[in-house]
């Protein structure tokens, strides 16, 4: 397909991780084993390309736990569609980071 999105394996892995439920930058780092200098730029690119969206959590929640508010990420519809294409392209993607593994982690 001419309009098929083309993501690098790393970007696809991060997208898969977010879709699997790791919605914070640090948890993506832990799940993928990628360093912060790779994960955050990649997430910014995914966000700019409309595959994920980010949102700051409410200040009140963070205040209650005496920590700074976190920024969390969520895969968009376009992101899910892209991820499906990427899973065909990188068949091991789902096996590497599956939702169950993430939950256990």
């Amino acid at each position: 397909m001419a309009n098929e999105p083309k993501l690098s394996h790393t970007a696809a892995m991060i997208l898969q991780t977010i879709h699997a439920g790791q919605v914070y930058g640090f948890s993506v780092m832990e799940a993928t084993g990628l360093p912060s200098g790779t994960v955050y730029p990649a997430m910014r690119r995914l966000e700019r390309d409309g595959l994920i969206v980010s949102k700051w959590e409410q200040q009140s929640i963070a205040d209650a736990q005496q920590r700074p508010p976190r920024k969390y990420y969520k895969v968009t519809r376009a992101g899910i569609a892209t991820l499906q294409v990427m899973q065909k392209r990188y068949p091991l993607l789902q096996k590497m980071i599956s939702a169950s593994e993430v939950k256990n982690a």
Partner: protein, 500 residues
């Protein structure tokens, strides 16, 4: 962030703040907040360090922040560079003009002929100095005055000239110490030449002989004699005549008609031995108060019996030296006068500027306009001088015509382009307007307007250019678009990163 947790990790926070300074200002606050929020979780999951604080994870995370910052910085610079150089941008236009002006200046500095022609205007001793010629400026290129005339005028013109000197260009082989020789263009000159030019003459070398003195130009000395310092004071032979090399002339010492490598100063007795009909250049210094010292003069010389007269041109060396600059000023003025015949001068109506735009944005448009002019004027000057003097044309008149033509048409079409370019740019972002669309019909001209509508791709406004100027729509008119239009315009020039 004032949480107690961060106060316990001053080094990590300091590293994150340092990394944040690399992030573009508009994104800095958000990135710092995200890093600090994640650092909290990094430290919670990390193992305790020596003093009980989690170190290893936090350090790795903080170093990673620098990677993020460098990535952002690089992307920001790349997009900024792209914005500067993208098609239609004002900065690209200014940059191209600046590069062209700089290239023409470099070429000017590297072309000796162009440099000498333009910079000799600053010759200190040219006032009152004339070249006497039979044929106007042509006489500046080839010798026209006979030795006989020089000898007769030398005494006859004392009331008019304070000094008169003669030189004849010759091509002679100079032999030094029998085994070194070079073919040089020598100016065989009367010994008062340097005195006439107010140049100090070095003392005679103490060799006991009274020999004619040869002065080499620095270029000839370097090219033919490997810049040998021992040459000064050496005895040489020119066409069988023993001469002493009395000195080396600096490049700007003598800038006289004829391209000469050396000057041979001879006393009157030696000079008188030349054939009477041999021709040369004649230099004369006008006495003060006699005539204007910087204008072209004519001199009529009558024969002894008064039966016939010869007309000569006295070309002021100061005027001749100023010629490239005079041509530049003349063509600039003529081009400005002719400009309204080629394009309308008004830049159009911009009614939206009534206080809605910051003064910096309004001023930027005029700064851009002025910078184009400021860059263009030296550009035309240097390009025309480079072309005229760099194409190795021997005839001085041809050189001047080339400079005149290039300079005039350069200024005329250049100023025309500057005005047209300014009119077709957005007054806010200064980008070239695009997507022209025909609006209206000719038959509706008296009810509304018809013409062409241009659009700013950044969404700042529309430019209406009437097909037929009328009393109610005489010139192009800018229509400002408010913020509600902005969603329709997006910047499509951002490259898609993260995509293979």
């Amino acid at each position: 962030m004032s949480l107690p947790f961060f106060r316990s990790l001053p080094a990590s926070v300091l590293i994150l703040h340092s990394a944040a300074w690399l992030v573009p200002a508009e994104e800095r606050k958000e990135w710092l907040a995200e890093w600090e929020a994640e650092l909290w979780h990094v430290c919670r999951t990390g193992e305790p360090g020596l003093n009980g604080r989690p170190r290893s994870h936090s350090t790795g995370f903080c170093v990673g922040a620098f990677q993020d910052a460098f990535w952002l910085k690089w992307n920001h610079l790349r997009s900024a560079r792209w914005r500067v150089l993208r098609r239609g941008a004002a900065s690209r236009c200014t940059l191209l003009l600046a590069v062209w002006a700089a290239a023409s200046l470099l070429l000017f500095l590297s072309l000796p002929a162009a440099r000498n022609a333009a910079l000799r205007s600053f010759h200190r001793n040219a006032d009152g100095l004339f070249v006497i010629s039979r044929s106007g400026y042509s006489g500046m290129q080839s010798p026209t005055i006979g030795l006989e005339e020089y000898l007769s005028w030398k005494t006859a013109t004392r009331q008019l000239f304070s000094g008169i000197a003669f030189y004849q260009p010759l091509s002679k082989r100079v032999h030094i110490l029998k085994h070194r020789s070079a073919e040089l263009a020598i100016g065989r000159a009367s010994d008062n030449l340097f005195q006439l030019l107010n140049r100090p003459l070095p003392a005679d070398p103490p060799n006991g002989e009274h020999l004619a003195r040869l002065f080499l130009t620095q270029a000839a000395w370097r090219q033919n004699f490997n810049a040998d310092p021992a040459l000064v004071g050496a005895i040489a032979e020119v066409a069988g005549q023993r001469v002493v090399i009395a000195g080396i002339l600096s490049p700007d010492a003598l800038r006289l008609p004829g391209h000469l490598d050396a000057w041979l100063l001879e006393d009157e007795e030696q000079l008188a031995k030349l054939p009477k009909r041999s021709s040369g250049f004649l230099l004369a210094r006008m006495r003060r108060g006699k005539l204007r010292l910087d204008e072209w003069q004519h001199m009529t010389v009558y024969s002894e019996d008064g039966s016939r007269s010869n007309r000569f041109d006295c070309i002021s060396l100061a005027e001749e030296e100023r010629l490239p600059f005079s041509i530049f000023v003349f063509t600039l003025i003529v081009a400005l006068i002719a400009l309204p015949a080629t394009t309308p001068l008004p830049l159009g109506e911009y009614p939206h500027h009534d206080g809605r735009l910051p003064w910096a944005v309004r001023a930027r448009r005029w700064v851009f306009f002025c910078s184009k002019i400021v860059l263009f004027v030296p550009l035309v000057y240097f390009t025309s001088v480079d072309a005229a003097y760099g194409c190795q044309v021997q005839n001085a008149n041809t050189v001047q015509y080339i400079q005149l033509g290039l300079s005039f048409f350069g200024f005329l079409f250049g100023f025309r382009w500057i005005l047209q370019d300014q009119r077709k740019r957005c007054p806010v972002c200064l980008r070239v307007l695009s997507n022209p669309a025909r609006v209206g019909e000719a038959s509706r001209n008296f009810l509304a307007w018809n013409g062409t509508e241009w659009i700013c791709t950044n969404g700042h406004g529309l430019l209406h250019i009437p097909e037929l100027p009328t009393s109610w729509f005489g010139t192009q008119r800018w229509l400002d678009l408010d913020a509600s239009w902005h969603p329709l315009f997006s910047d499509g020039c951002v490259p898609s990163a993260g995509v293979l």
